[in-house]
């Protein structure tokens, strides 16, 4: 991953590419540590430690914290209102590796620019973010690791 705004990238940017460069920044600038994306995954933990699957489950079902069930359904029999905008989370841990899940949470627009799934750890390239949320990612690195640890327990 290229570091947005680094001396090297500034040099490379020709005058007529300034606009495109700005667009590029908007798309790729993330608070995620750079140079951590490998293929379609972020292989190493954002905190350097493994997350807690029990806390992860709480975050996933919490309407305000993870808000995952706004869009997704999943194996949560106690949750009455689940979304139908996104794939069922059951089996997510069999379909995806830990690193793939991490990139999908940190910034799914890197895989599909049109996706409706929010980037849970990106603060750049957003428009008119409400005051209360401005400059803050949706989840903290610890919370993301907790969610990943939980998703890995969802096996077919």
């Amino acid at each position: 991953m290229r570091k947005p705004g680094s001396a090297r990238s500034r040099q490379k940017r020709s005058a007529d590419a300034v606009a495109a460069g700005l667009a590029l920044l908007a798309l790729t600038a993330a608070v995620a540590p750079e140079d951590t994306v490998v293929g379609d995954a972020i292989p190493s933990s954002l905190t350097g430690a493994a997350g807690d699957p029990v806390r992860g489950r709480e975050i996933v079902v919490d309407r305000r914290l993870g808000a995952c069930l706004l869009c997704h359904t999943g194996p949560f029999p106690e949750e009455k209102f689940q979304g139908t905008l996104a794939p069922d989370l059951a089996g997510a841990g069999s379909r995806w590796s830990e690193g793939q899940l991490r990139l999908r949470l940190v910034d799914p627009t890197r895989l599909n620019p049109d996706t409706i799934m929010p980037a849970y750890y990106r603060v750049e390239g957003l428009t008119r973010v409400g005051l209360a949320w401005r400059g803050k990612p949706i989840l903290t690195t610890e919370q993301i690791e907790d969610v990943i640890a939980f998703l890995l327990t969802l096996r077919d």
Partner: protein, 256 residues
């Protein structure tokens, strides 16, 4: 440079306009509502919005402040003079050189013709007057169209409708063009046609304006909502009305 190109393509994909809803696939929010809610809307004695309509009817005839003139003194019988009016708002005001929505029109009449203070957004009196006026357009098809003077405002509204916003980074279009009919947690996503405003919303336990509804959607995606009456908010209303062109008005509607 190759990275720039790749990103340029990705960006083009990200901003490509989503498919608009085909004319014959358009549905009012009424069609997505539960049968009890539809029944409540249809029955005048059960529709809570009718309380505001009645209140508006008495305000219509009441003389306001300094000028001691009522709406009725200028406009006469609302059943005649106000029929179809709400169906063509927001409308262009040549003096201000911008579109005004119905709420702003009412307040403009107050300041220009009645020498009265503007009514606050979402105040009982403003909701009552707009509900009463909108009621006169029941069944009238929406006729907001792109006149040359409205064009730039419509374009702005359309752009805002397709712009991703907020911490959740979603556009109106991603929900209302691309995912209507699906469930966002417990709520069915309607197509977002403003046929029935002001609406009685069960969640609010009150009547509310279209702008209030838009603010709800904006805060849901954790965006900073536009101020009441802001040009962007009116532009969005305008685009929504044009997008719903031809659909019959059904104010005051009832929604979950």
């Amino acid at each position: 440079m190759r990275t720039l190109l790749a990103a340029g393509l990705a960006l083009a994909a990200a901003t490509a306009a989503a498919a608009e809803i085909a004319l014959d696939a358009r549905r009012s929010g009424y069609d997505f509502a539960r049968p009890e809610i539809r029944a409540m809307q249809d029955d005048e004695t059960a529709n809570p919005g009718m309380l505001w309509v009645l209140q508006g009817e008495s305000l219509w005839a009441r003389k306001a402040d300094a000028a001691a003139k009522s709406c009725q003194d200028c406009h006469g019988d609302a059943a005649v003079s106000m029929k179809g009016v709400a169906a063509r708002y927001p409308a262009f005001d040549p003096v201000l050189a911008r579109p005004l929505d119905l709420e702003q029109r009412v307040n403009r009449c107050r300041s220009e013709h009645q020498g009265a203070e503007p009514l606050a957004w979402e105040s009982e009196d403003l909701l009552a007057l707009t509900a009463f006026v909108a009621r006169q357009s029941r069944g009238v098809p929406i006729t907001v169209t792109a006149s040359p003077t409205l064009r730039p405002f419509l374009d702005l509204g359309k752009e805002l409708f397709h712009q991703r916003e907020g911490q959740l980074n979603l556009s109106c279009s991603q929900c209302h063009d691309d995912n209507w009919g699906k469930r966002l947690a417990g709520s069915v996503i309607p197509q977002g046609h403003p046929t029935g405003y002001p609406i009685y919303r069960l969640e609010w336990q009150s009547l509310g304006s279209l702008q209030r509804r838009l603010r709800n959607c904006m805060t849901a995606v954790r965006a900073e909502p536009f101020d009441y009456g802001a040009p962007q908010a009116v532009a969005l209303e305008l685009y929504l009305m044009e997008r719903a062109g031809g659909m019959p008005m059904d104010a005051p509607a009832v929604r979950p």
